[in-house]
């Protein structure tokens, strides 16, 4: 780019904590998402390690039954809502505007709002670990203890009188607002902020899968919001939505929860599928095999994800017709998923493969996800499911898809895009250690669970007897060793991140020879991303010499790209929500007025603040 254009005056990166709490830059918000979510991921991991320590030996007594309930509930809740979703959001934030050739998201302040609500909601739920004295509980931890699925009517006041479930249902409502706001923002960003010439079928697959994910978010989250609101009315206002004595039906909760819960599974996996659809072509130096089919499969998964929820409820006894239908739809949804897997393998076939860490993780994703997918198809069959449900077999399944799938995919994305985000390459040597430790660790931790489950060990029980079955104690010990191996792998990763700050190789604009627009700009990108908005004439702009046209001379306006100044009002508005949630939690009416006041004040200042995007 020519030197005639002076760097924009507004482009000097602001520093200091004030610039971070007022930031509306999608790249900074992406980094905030990454580190916050990674912090929650470690907390969820520590909870998992405590579960595994308890189960390492029969008759384990490390934690009490009640604390164990809190551990598995918070492990699931944290990993789903506070780790995996926001880690994906870190990449949505950082990468999507770069991939589509935009200077920011469509609504930068709404984006900041999403982050702050996520952070505060996460802190709100986790405060329950230390809130016992506030509620005269007699012990420190009053964390949610009804499972991440919170089945009614166990969650009703008469069976769970403490504040545990209140933290959960109020915290999830707060977090839902963050997800919904981000959903609207990214749908509009991807549909409306594309660079000239970037037609929908030229959109990188990661952006496509993000779009599908966000449609699932904005349609699935209202459903769980209603489920939680009804539970809130039951617990606080004496209604009987889920209480059979007054004609209510606990099954309503299960339907509403899984109507949300199954699309949620695809909300968790589709972004990772998008990531590896970027990583595999780059390191095979081949365009993605069957781009169109991969995109349509993703869209189809998004639609079909709405028609399978009752396979979580086979053991309820919905009757042969419902069971057959949901069994059929569940087997069908494996088809577009399988199509994608074959496309990824075909992308590698005959490519010039470079065995980078990112590629290792992407291939690891395929292998592990296939195992998880196969056990998933196994419990698509109701008779088999009746044997497997509520056992460790299901725990094995979800960890192969969400750990072996989503987490490995997110690590592939981290190794792939970290150079873009920080300007420095992560160490490949440490990366390989990280990869092999995590692959061995996860298979040691989760593969034995298949057998533990088939041998009849139920999940969510705080301890087990030596007499439960032959070999179960040994298999559990192996699983615990595997869990700690994963912890070691994560320490290697953290060391890699830390080391890279000072010792990482400078990345340059395009360390991998990637095909998409984010590799056309410096690493890390300037605040305005693109000095000139590129005109796109190809699906793989960097790989086709004729198709990346010469950069046009910009108009005077374009030579000084505008960067919005920050705003404090998203944070102020976001603060209103946890305050509002504290009102029912502590039965304090004035807190509701303070929270609503903050919300109101924040929204009005936000609406009338001069803010040019």
């Amino acid at each position: 780019m020519s030197a005639v254009h002076a760097p924009a005056a507004a482009a000097a990166p602001a520093t200091g904590w004030k610039s971070w709490i007022t930031t509306t830059d999608h790249k900074r918000i992406g980094m905030l998402y990454f580190f916050t979510a990674f912090g929650f991921f470690l907390i969820g991991g520590i909870e998992a390690l405590m579960i595994r320590l308890q189960l390492a030996q029969p008759d384990g007594r490390l934690v009490s039954a009640d604390t164990y309930n809190q551990l598995f509930t918070m492990h699931g809740t944290t990993m789903v809502f506070l780790a995996l979703m926001p880690l994906s959001a870190a990449f949505f934030n950082y990468i999507i505007p770069l991939q589509i050739g935009a200077r920011d998201v469509a609504f930068p302040r709404l984006n900041a709002f999403s982050y702050w609500v996520f952070l505060l909601g996460g802190l709100f739920i986790n405060a329950s670990w230390f809130a016992g004295p506030l509620f005269h509980a007699g012990h420190l931890n009053v964390a949610p203890n009804g499972g991440w699925f919170g089945y009614a009517n166990l969650t009703e006041r008469q069976y769970s009188p403490g504040p545990n479930i209140d933290f959960w249902l109020l915290g999830l409502q707060v977090l839902g607002i963050a997800s919904l706001a981000a959903g609207f923002n990214f749908i509009v960003t991807i549909l409306n902020m594309r660079a000239p010439g970037m037609r929908m079928m030229r959109l990188p697959v990661f952006s496509w899968m993000t779009l599908v994910t966000q449609f699932l978010v904005i349609t699935a989250f209202p459903v769980i919001t209603v489920a939680l609101v009804l539970l809130m009315f039951d617990r606080f206002f004496g209604t009987h939505f889920y209480l059979p004595a007054a004609g209510g039906d606990p099954l309503l909760w299960q339907h509403l929860f899984w109507l949300f819960g199954h699309p949620e599974v695809y909300i968790l996996i589709l972004p990772a599928m998008g990531i590896i659809s970027e990583v595999l072509p780059t390191f095979a130096r081949k365009p993605l095999f069957g781009y169109t089919v991969v995109v349509y499969s993703g869209v189809l998964i998004g639609f079909m994800g709405w028609g399978v929820w009752s396979h979580h409820m086979f053991s309820v006894g919905l009757g042969p017709i419902a069971d057959s239908v949901f069994s059929g739809t569940t087997m069908l949804i494996a088809v577009p998923t399988g199509v994608k897997i074959f496309n990824w393998i075909a992308t590698l076939w005959g490519g010039q493969i470079r065995g980078t860490t990112a590629l290792h993780f992407a291939v690891g994703f395929i292998a592990m996800f296939v195992i998880g997918g196969l056990s998933g198809v196994m419990h698509a069959s109701p008779p088999a499911d009746l044997q497997q449900t509520d056992t460790y077999f299901v725990v094995a399944h979800i960890h192969y898809v969400l750990f072996g799938g989503t987490i490995l995919g997110l690590f592939a994305g981290t190794y792939y895009w970290w150079p873009k985000m920080t300007g420095r390459l992560l160490s490949e040597t440490l990366g390989k250690w990280h990869f092999w430790l995590i692959i061995i660790g996860m298979n040691l931790a989760f593969f034995p669970m298949h057998f533990i489950g088939l041998l009849g060990m139920p999940r969510r029980i705080y301890t087990y007897s030596r007499d439960l079955g032959p070999g179960i104690a040994t298999l559990n010990l192996v699983s615990t060793v595997g869990a700690f191996l994963i912890a070691v792998a994560l320490l290697v990763f953290i060391w890699n991140l830390w080391r890279t700050r000072t010792h990482g190789q400078p990345a340059g604009d395009d360390p991998w020879g990637g095909a998409t627009l984010e590799w056309t700009i410096p690493s890390p990108p300037p605040p305005y991303n693109f000095e000139f908005i590129p005109t796109v004439v190809s699906r793989l702009p960097r790989w086709s010499t004729t198709q990346m046209r010469a950069i046009p001379e910009g108009s005077p306006e374009e030579s000084l790209p505008h960067v919005p100044s920050g705003s404090i009002w998203p944070l102020v508005t976001a603060l209103g929500l946890p305050v509002l949630a504290c009102a029912p939690l502590t039965h304090t009416l004035w807190l509701a007025f303070v929270g609503a006041g903050l919300l109101f004040f924040g929204i009005y200042r936000w609406a009338f603040e001069p803010f040019e995007v």
Binding site: A106, F107, L180, G183, F184, N185, I187, V188, L191, N192, M193, R194, P196, M198, I218, T219, A220, F221, P222, V223, T225, V226, A227, V229, L230, F233, F237, G238, T239, H240, F241, A246, G247, G248, D249, L252, L256, L259, Y604, A607, F608, E609, P610, F611, E612, V613
Partner: protein, 194 residues
């Protein structure tokens, strides 16, 4: 309302704020859809009275439905006035829309209090719980809409709302019409088909 001045280049040719609002309305459909489904699932399953046919006042609710429909008409007129730059009538119609919204809320308050007097509360039975949560959620939406419309009206009084803000008025209108349509569904499902 400050970013109305220059709408940016958009790939789909639809202003971003409008597109986001349509997505929001889609999301709201699922919210009300879940609440209405809950109402339908629990219909006829209350173990004690009062039951819907004993208590629902259809003439009154027909009037508030008419009131809300008329407010949608006012909203259309408000937007048309703002779009052609006629801020005098813009203000009049915005205020009328909000006032009709307030009338609706007043009638809902009357309905709720009279139900409570007749012995139907949230806690009484499943009908009470599903009815109050569904219509209460709708009422909360109307309240937000009234505050929004009054805000626009006062901005217009201050001279800070002109034809350049037509998109802002259009989006508030989308919201208002959506809330109206939801009421038509609720009126049909809860009141007319008992």
């Amino acid at each position: 309302m400050t970013h109305a001045a220059a709408e940016h280049h958009t790939s789909m040719g639809v202003p971003s704020r409008k597109m986001a609002f349509w997505a929001f309305i889609g999301s709201e459909c699922l919210l009300f859809g879940s609440l209405i489904s809950t109402y339908l699932v629990y219909k006829g399953r209350s173990v004690v009275g009062p039951y819907p046919h004993e208590i629902l006042n259809i003439p009154l609710t027909s009037f508030s439905t008419f009131d809300l429909l008329m407010s949608s008409l006012m909203m259309v007129l408000a937007l048309a006035a703002v779009q052609r730059g006629d801020m005098k009538w813009g203000k009049i119609w915005l205020l009328s829309t909000a006032l009709l919204g307030i009338v609706f809320l007043g009638m809902q308050t009357y309905e709720f209090t009279s139900f409570v007097r007749e012995g139907l509360t949230l806690q009484t039975n499943l009908f009470g719980a599903t009815f109050f949560v569904l219509t209460g959620t709708h009422g909360a939406h109307v309240t937000v809409g009234v505050i929004w419309l009054l805000t626009l009206f006062f901005r217009a009084l201050q001279g800070k709302l002109g034809p350049e803000h037509a998109l802002t008025v259009e989006i508030s209108g989308l919201y208002w019409h959506f809330v109206d349509v939801v009421w038509i569904v609720i009126f049909t499902v809860v009141y007319l088909i008992q």
